[in-house]
């Protein structure tokens, strides 16, 4: 293998696809921490030049973790459609970028090619894309899904109502749900991150959220973002589960650190088909985020973008209703500042869509990252332009339990009204019936949680 170029008379040579992939990445503190980043900007660009000449076949032959050592690699590789793969395996990464952006390339054509891609191919082309490339190409790709309502349709933007409470108080969570619903947040899911992962606590909150959904006949689904094993128990006990959640990692070792493997998720998926109360057929909800494999020392010497792309290939196996990156949650040692968080958010959304999954984003940051609410609002606008399926809705963007900041209940209606988008259609019809929205705009009644005290 020879991976070499000259740039301004200087020779840059890369020993392996692994090294090339790390150095071709846009700057990320996590790649620096892992010792994988380019030593100079010139070296980064040289790596991009060489990567642009690498074929998709070479990338398939060089997965981040070998096929026989890693169930994530096996899941993705086994799912490759060989007929389509044979058509594209000779493409270089540079060819692939231009094909995605070309006027002749339609959404359906991209969705078809998605069936022949591995995470390494998806990550490689992302490394050659500018931010606007990522927005433009992602906008072409619509991925819809259905549970109670229909997500991902053109012209829609959904919002997860995230009503977390520091001690899981059902009444406190209920209050925040009312606030969110009154702003039109909750069409993606009413999804709680619980503090207490016990079955009894999780089941109680499932009952409470299901009760609100039934009382108000809300076209949405509920979800408790506990460990998947707790939700599996809850389903077997007859608790009302709308979506089954789990965080995923891009390697078998990474998933081990989350206490899961492919077999366990297969079982969860089967239980979801058997027990979840909504229509379906999409019952799964996954979260991801660059750097999670490195933080568990499970990255096998590969860059965080490639590990992230592999998560999406894995997630596709279980036909999710929704997937989002929690892009700035992990902290500044992986994504240092607003520039890196913004870049990663655009990358992750694009990679999810290119993989063929219904992708949203938790546009967020921690208090020790060099970012502010303005930066996260910027990212939300960029991602909305890119056709992002949904964002989080949190009271004033300040999560009272997870101690990080993300998008506010106010932000989905602001983005919708600024960019001419609507809530998911079933949910918007429900809001119209209650008089909370008219012609796509919040009415006088909206934004008042005490509205929901009348039933």
């Amino acid at each position: 293998m020879l991976l070499r170029t000259k740039l301004f008379g200087e020779t840059f040579e890369f020993k392996s696809v692994r090294e090339l992939m790390g150095k071709a990445n846009e700057p990320k503190s996590g790649d620096e921490l892992a010792g994988l980043a380019a030593a100079s900007i010139a070296e980064r660009v040289a790596a991009k030049y060489v990567l642009a000449e690498v074929t998709l076949e070479t990338l398939r032959a060089n997965p981040a973790v070998p096929y026989d050592q890693d169930d994530v690699t096996r899941v993705i590789d086994d799912a490759v459609n060989e007929t389509i793969y044979n058509e594209i395996k000779g493409w270089t990464v540079g060819d692939f970028r231009e094909w995605l952006l070309a006027d002749q390339t339609t959404a359906d054509m991209i969705r078809r090619v998605s069936n022949a891609l591995t995470g390494e191919m998806v990550a490689a082309v992302t490394k050659l894309m500018s931010n606007l490339d990522l927005i433009y190409a992602a906008k072409k790709i619509r991925v819809t899904s259905h549970c109670v309502n229909t997500a991902g349709l053109p012209g829609t933007l959904a919002s997860r109502c995230q009503p977390n409470h520091p001690i899981d108080s059902p009444e406190g969570i209920r209050a925040a749900i009312y606030e969110g619903l009154s702003y039109g947040s909750g069409d993606s899911v009413i999804g709680i991150n619980p503090v207490d992962d016990s079955l009894s606590s999780v089941a109680r909150l499932l009952d409470m959220t299901y009760d609100i959904i039934q009382t108000w006949q809300i076209p949405t689904q509920n979800c408790l973002l506990s460990h998947v094993t707790t939700q599996m128990q809850a389903m077997k006990k007859g608790a009302p589960v709308g979506l089954v959640f789990q965080s995923l990692s891009g390697s078998q070792l990474g998933n081990q650190s989350f206490g899961i493997d492919v077999g366990m998720m297969d079982e969860a998926y089967e239980l979801a088909q058997k027990y979840c109360w909504p229509t379906g057929p999409n019952y799964m909800y996954f979260e991801s985020g660059q750097g999670s494999a490195l933080s568990a020392d499970a990255h096998n010497g590969w860059d965080q973008l490639t590990l992230e792309a592999r998560i999406y290939g894995l997630a596709k196996r279980w036909k999710p209703y929704q997937v989002n990156t929690v892009v700035g949650f992990i902290g500044p040692e992986y994504l240092y500042d607003a520039i890196q968080i913004t870049r990663a958010g655009l990358e992750d959304h694009f990679m999810g869509k290119l993989t063929g999954i219904p992708m949203g984003c938790d546009a967020c940051y921690t208090n020790h990252a060099r970012a502010t609410q303005n930066d996260i609002e910027n990212l939300a606008v960029l991602l909305t332009a890119a056709g992002c399926n949904y964002f989080m809705g949190v009271p004033m963007g300040d999560d009272a339990m997870l101690a990080y900041q993300c998008t506010s209940f106010h932000d989905a209606p602001s983005l919708r009204q600024t960019l001419g988008l609507h809530p998911l259609p079933e949910f918007e019809a429900w809001m119209e019936d209650l008089g909370l929205i008219k012609n796509g705009r919040l009415t006088d009644k909206a934004g008042d949680p005490s509205f929901f005290l009348s039933r």
């Binding site: 209050a175 020790h368 609410q373 949190v394 004033m396 300040d398 900041q405 209606p413 934004g447 005490s450």
Partner: protein, 301 residues
């Protein structure tokens, strides 16, 4: 233009505005009240003297002017520390809610970059050394470097620190220098007197800049204490930058991890009082020395 005409135009416009649906905003006042601008005509200029908007009573004030159920709204707001009932103007948050968020985030950002007060360190007799994270940016990006002492720091500790004490206590800025400024003056005397009363010898205290908890291992490689403890600023929460922790380990080794340590967290006036925290730390040190263990081993023992 005649005065009469102007009034007629105003009335027409107002009538049109009232007729149009969805243009009035029930949850926010459509226009500032007249008396709010009175200060502008004061001969001495604006007279603005605000009460602290970060006090609890100000935080609990609903931002919705005409809620459907006012008592119900107050009950909902009382049920959660989440920022609900904040109101809106159009789809955007009201000014007060927005500014309060900025204040709460601002205080965390200031704390993160805040250098611990040098006078305070001098007053308490702490000399300073540095971790391998040479500046704040490196510190945030490279947690591994914040866990290691520079060679210069090691030399200073070898030179100035008492060896083989029962307890070695040192201080690190961590993610909030403000937390150290806030708590150190109160907690250090309690630790010193507490250890003294317990008949335990205390090593030479000092301060490490750009510090992570893992420094316990490097430090004890030099001082060889029975128990080694770091007082360190916690990652600031929104509106909460004063919180400090104490991490303690029994004879930390180069490969010790959080599993080998115990922690006393959330130390600040309003959380765990620093005086109580100091007393608690002394008890824990006694227990570790008695059981010759810390962390998971101490719990199992």
């Amino acid at each position: 233009m005649q005065d009469l005409d102007i009034q007629a135009i105003v009335e027409t416009v107002l009538a049109e505005l009232q007729a149009a649906e969805g243009t009035t905003v029930g949850t926010a006042q459509a226009a500032p009240e007249a008396d709010r601008t009175a200060g502008a005509t004061d001969p001495d200029g604006p007279q603005i003297d605000l009460d602290d908007p970060t006090l609890p009573e100000a935080r609990q004030r609903p931002g919705i002017d005409r809620p459907i159920n006012p008592d119900g709204l107050r009950a909902l707001m009382a049920a959660t520390p989440a920022r609900i009932g904040v109101g809106r103007s159009g789809p955007r948050p009201r000014t007060a809610a927005n500014l309060l968020f900025l204040a709460d985030h601002g205080v965390t950002q200031d704390a993160l970059m805040h250098a611990v007060d040098a006078d305070l360190l001098e007053e308490l007799g702490l000399f300073s050394v540095e971790s391998q994270a040479a500046d704040r940016q490196t510190y945030l990006k490279r947690p591994d470097l914040g866990r290691k002492l520079t060679e210069a720091a090691k030399a200073i500790l070898r030179d100035r620190c008492t060896k083989n004490p029962d307890a070695q206590i040192f201080v690190g800025d961590g993610l909030s220098g403000a937390a150290i400024d806030h708590n150190l003056r109160q907690i250090m005397p309690v630790l010193q007197q507490g250890l003294n009363s317990a008949g335990l010898s205390m090593g030479t205290p000092f301060f490490v800049k750009n510090a992570r908890v893992g420094l316990l291992n490097d430090v004890n490689g030099i001082v060889d204490a029975k128990v080694c403890a770091i007082l360190i600023g916690e990652r600031p929460g929104l509106a909460r930058a004063q919180s400090m922790s104490i991490y303690l380990g029994y004879r930390p080794r180069p490969d010790s991890t959080d599993a080998n340590r115990d922690a006393i967290c959330n130390i600040y006036e309003g959380g765990l009082n620093p005086l109580e925290a100091g007393a608690h730390a002394v008890q824990l040190i006694q227990k570790m020395i008695r059981d010759r263990a810390s962390g998971v081993e101490l719990k199992l023992g």
